[in-house]
């Protein structure tokens, strides 16, 4: 049986910069898969390619065996792909709760005419999503801020809000771009636990993170990128002891 996500030969360049060069890897369902590498290695670009924010120059991406390269993000969301952003993308014109509710957009009846005429089914659907969104906010530790406006949250809170929004999609596959950036070690532990729970609930997690403690603890497999290329791939143990990885990325401490 094919892996949940299969990427092969993926490439993207901007002007002269080869941000991603013939990268290939497979992610099996249910695991936590991490992508690490120095700054500018192409990790975020990889996420952008897979989630349809950028169109690849070459290569293929398969989700459950079906090609998805070049498909718009909306389409991927329909297939259960969710993500968070390294450079926050929060809707500052809405409340925190509404931001999370947007994550559940696809699970609702979105017909504008029915909405304008206040069909009861729409109201009911909305009601239940609001409740679920509140639960999710609680889950990521923002329970106190359900009624807050998004623009009144601090950086770290917004990072978590994005996780809640991604989870609201009920994803099969979730991409987290540096979820622990801006969190202190204690808070990072909280997020790690959260990811563990998400993973346990059957969601496949792809993670970009510079916090090695967290990566090593959570990951089933790790892809190391450098200069847009895949440097190596393997289990936490294998990667940790790879001299190339140590030289390029981890340094002596790890």
């Amino acid at each position: 049986m094919a892996s949940l996500l299969e990427v092969s030969n993926l490439s993207k360049s901007f002007g002269g910069v080869h941000a991603v060069q013939s990268v290939g890897f497979k992610v099996d369902a249910g695991i936590v898969y991490s992508v690490i590498g120095p700054n500018g290695a192409g990790k975020t670009t990889l996420f952008n390619l897979i989630t349809g924010v950028y169109t690849p120059d070459a290569g293929s991406i398969r989700l459950n065996g079906e090609p998805i390269e070049g498909k718009p993000p909306t389409m991927l969301a329909r297939r259960g792909v969710a993500r968070t952003f390294q450079n926050l993308q929060v809707c500052m014109n809405m409340s925190a709760l509404e931001n999370v509710m947007v994550g559940a957009h696809l699970h609702l009846d979105r017909n504008p005419l029915k909405a304008a005429l206040r069909f009861p089914s729409i109201r009911r659907g909305d009601q239940s999503i609001a409740e679920r969104a509140a639960e999710l906010m609680d889950f990521v530790g923002l329970g106190k801020f359900v009624n807050a406006h998004a623009d009144s949250l601090s950086y770290g809170m917004l990072k978590r809000l994005e996780i809640a929004r991604a989870l609201a999609l009920k994803p099969r596959l979730i991409f987290l771009d540096e979820p622990a950036a801006g969190l202190n070690p204690k808070e990072t532990e909280g997020v790690a636990e959260l990811i563990r729970e998400v993973s346990n609930s059957g969601v496949t997690v792809v993670l970009v993170e510079h916090d090695m403690k967290m990566v090593m603890k959570l990951s089933d497999r790790i892809l190391v990128m450098d200069y847009g290329k895949a440097l190596t791939e393997g289990t936490a143990e294998e990667v940790r002891n790879n001299p190339q990885v140590i030289a390029a990325y981890l340094g002596a401490q790890a």
Partner: protein, 310 residues
Amino acid sequence: MKNSSYAGLLIIAAILALLPFVLPNSFYLDLAIRMGINAIIVLGLNLLIGFAGQISLGHAGFVGLGAFASAVLPHHFGWPTFGAMLGGAMFTGILAALVARPIFKLKGHYLAMATLGLGIIVNIVLRNESEYTGGPDGMPVMALDVLGFEISGDDQWYWVVAILLCISIWASLNLINSPFGRGLRALHGSEVAARVAGVNVERYKIVIFVMSAMFASVMGSITAHHVGFITPSVADFPHSIELLTMVVVGGVASVYGSVVGAVLLTALPQALANFEGWEIVAYGVILVTCMIFVPKGVVPTMNAKFKKEH
């Protein structure tokens, strides 16, 4: 009048029901009708600008299309007036849908420029095709006939517009608090976040653009029938700006703000009518002062104040 609450609607409905009994003469009734018509156009425009965050500087073009459909089709082609109104709305909707895709590739001022251009093109066509439209001097419009019932006179028009206004407010409130409306607001906040969450950004923009264009077209038709005479200035750039100003003064992304903005700015020129040459200056000063002291618009600012006190 909290933005999302329906209480404001009840208040407005009550005011609308009482108004005709306190207005001294039909000039005021006429003014009230104009306010109502503008309010409905602005409600639609605010959905586009305030909620979806897409600037339009050419909305008067759509008002003009509706108005002239109602004037030209019955006059030159023997269409029934009601049919002309619907036909105008359909045509406007289709036109809006056709141009929406290329236009909404653009953002910010580029979008503003494109919508401005669209409005200007419509206006130029209306001015130049004087065979049909009467050119800049305009043309008379027949009375509206809805399935054998003729609507004419300020009394009848008042009630028609009042009911339409209440329905429009109600529908707008419903819409913005629905999943569709949330999708719109989300794409305003962050397009990429909305996309990734599954909001079909292109489609939403097109739908709301078409909807607000059709709103404008129908109200253009009603203006034409109510006034009985129409000129291409309904479709010109200053009118687009006037509509935009109503949105902003009332409150961007505020349903009740649309109504308040329309009422204030429809009344303002009448209030300034005796300023003898200083009207433009006064109008400008009022606009600027208003934007400086209530940059978020009248209604949202009052809301904030109200909340503070409680």
